[in-house]
Subunit: 326 residues, 2 copies
């Protein structure tokens, strides 16, 4: 198992990436990580760690700057860590690519180098929300601002296979994020998506309202990338807000542990970033503020996706709906 890791992506690059890669190979004896980045910048952080026989450095000296349009990165920055790292996967030298770099650039380059699966118009970015009864995969969280009804159905299908393969579910419950439970609620796009989902072989449980998300009302929550992005970022900010509100009363040791548990439960870092679903390969996008633990978790997601045969299952399910079902 060989994972190409963008070593230059996170706010703390490359130290978060180096420490995350080391933790990942220490935890998994079958894992090799290719750290893709500036070899000079990597030498220092990497020098202090053992396990280096399963961590290789692949030189990628070019920097992406904020003014680079995401879609132009492959062409304009061919020696950037994103272009080189994804190139390793496209060439079969790596099984997956993990990056905490520009989401837009990683998505655009993944689409160009890995290509979408047959039957997928636009890949979706997905992430796991911690809820009261378990994890809910939300797709899309920002790759597609506007969506057509059949694209929402594709997200549902991709998400269901993901939850089968990576969370071991038999028939993931698919919900459609909407402003009411009735079939005729929401925009015309959502009304049409509802009809398509209700007529599909998916385990569709209907519309899910904002108040029901945290009740674990479904395993795969489908929405356009605009709504999903607003919701994700809002959720990420809520825990910190509430802890600040509660802080004055939480000074004893007992409470402090509970708060730490809660924060960990709500921490995206536990869940390993956002897989890009629907490309012919494995791309996992981590948060820009990723800690070493978040990078290591992102690598873990990529490893499980490869070992489970996620991409083959998705390809088969899109070609022959229901074939990947339990």
């Amino acid at each position: 198992m060989r994972i190409a890791l963008d070593a230059m992506g996170s706010d703390d690059a490359p130290s978060s990436e180096v420490a995350g890669a080391v933790a990942a190979v220490e935890a998994d004896s079958g894992l090799h990580v290719m750290l893709v980045g500036d070899e000079k910048a990597l030498a220092g952080p990497l020098g202090g760690f053992p396990c280096r026989d399963r961590i290789a450095v692949v030189h990628a000296p070019e920097r992406i700057v904020p003014s680079d349009a995401p879609a132009s990165v492959l062409r304009r920055r061919p020696r950037s860590s994103i272009s080189v790292g994804l190139g390793l996967q496209a060439a079969g030298e790596a099984d997956a690519f993990v990056s905490a770099g520009s989401t837009g650039a990683v998505m655009a380059a993944s689409l160009l180098l890995l290509r979408p699966l047959r039957g997928v118009d636009r890949p979706a970015l997905a992430t796991l929300f911690p809820t009261d009864g378990g994890l809910t995969l939300v797709a899309d969280i920002g790759a597609n601002i506007d969506c057509k009804p059949h694209q929402l159905v594709q997200f549902a299908r991709l998400g269901a296979v993901y939850m089968q393969d990576l969370q071991g579910m038999r028939a993931p419950r698919v919900g459609l994020l909407n402003v009411g439970t009735e079939a005729e609620k929401g925009t015309e796009v959502l009304q049409a998506a509802y009809r398509l989902l209700a007529g599909s072989d998916l385990n569709f449980v209907g519309n899910i309202e904002g108040r029901d998300i945290l009740k674990h009302a479904c395993d795969v929550l489908v929405c356009d990338g605009f709504t999903g992005n607003i919701l994700l970022k809002f959720y990420e900010s809520v825990a910190a807000f509430m802890i600040r509100k509660l802080a004055p009363g939480l000074e004893g040791i007992g409470q402090r542990e509970e708060v730490d548990d809660l924060l960990r439960d709500l921490d995206y870092a536990e869940y390993g970033g956002a897989p890009l679903l629907g490309v012919n390969g494995v791309t996992v996008i981590c948060h820009g503020r990723s800690s070493p633990r978040a990078i290591s978790a992102g690598i873990g997601v990529a490893v499980r996706a490869v070992r489970s045969g996620l991409v083959e299952h998705m390809a088969r399910d899109l070609f022959d709906p229901g074939a990947s079902g339990a």
Copy 2:
């Protein structure tokens, strides 16, 4: 000051409404409340309270049933509490209408009986979000699923006047809910709305991401009713979810008080329901689960709206933008 209160709207009707009306008149010696509902159902709950010289009952025997389309309520249920109560305001016998009944029915009947203000395409439903630095008015939260750019600008204008009049702000900061801060982010509708807002006399502070809402990044947050509704319902559910997560460690007295304070801070009941902005009159819609305190707070919002001259200020600002500014 005469407020018409729908006595049949909430899940606990009419007892929440009766108790809320009594609390409101006890707190405000200039206030008269007309309890609009079934006089037989009201006699019992009302019998036990003093202050009845300033609480009148207006008989409205007809019940709205779930199969009534919201837009048909006025025509099909002319003797319902919503039709009668809004009729009192339309006839000048009440200064405002407050209801915890069907949001759709109250909105539709308000539009028909009160009419939109000149310059308003579609009224917006708004509500206050508690944030880290104060309250943010979010508009729309569900009246308009699809919005055009100039309608979003109308929401901004209506919301800014509301925050001036009811929260005493001089130049409320207006933000546009979006997936990034740059002007070219989001849908074409949002890009066009951004340009219109940036070119207006409003105190526009740009796009606001989901993660910045609770940082009090703006005073008026503009969005379509689909996104606003999802966000509001999600936010309402978050506090309960986090308290459940924290519960095991919050058994001591000290922490319990902090939690109670937090829950009160996050409780919609504190903020008095959702004003319908842009009609030629005052309609305040309370949560279906309203407690007496929530009903009383809703009446308080209606009273402040009438006393401040909110509707006249909105009409003037829409006719002559900037006229209501400080």
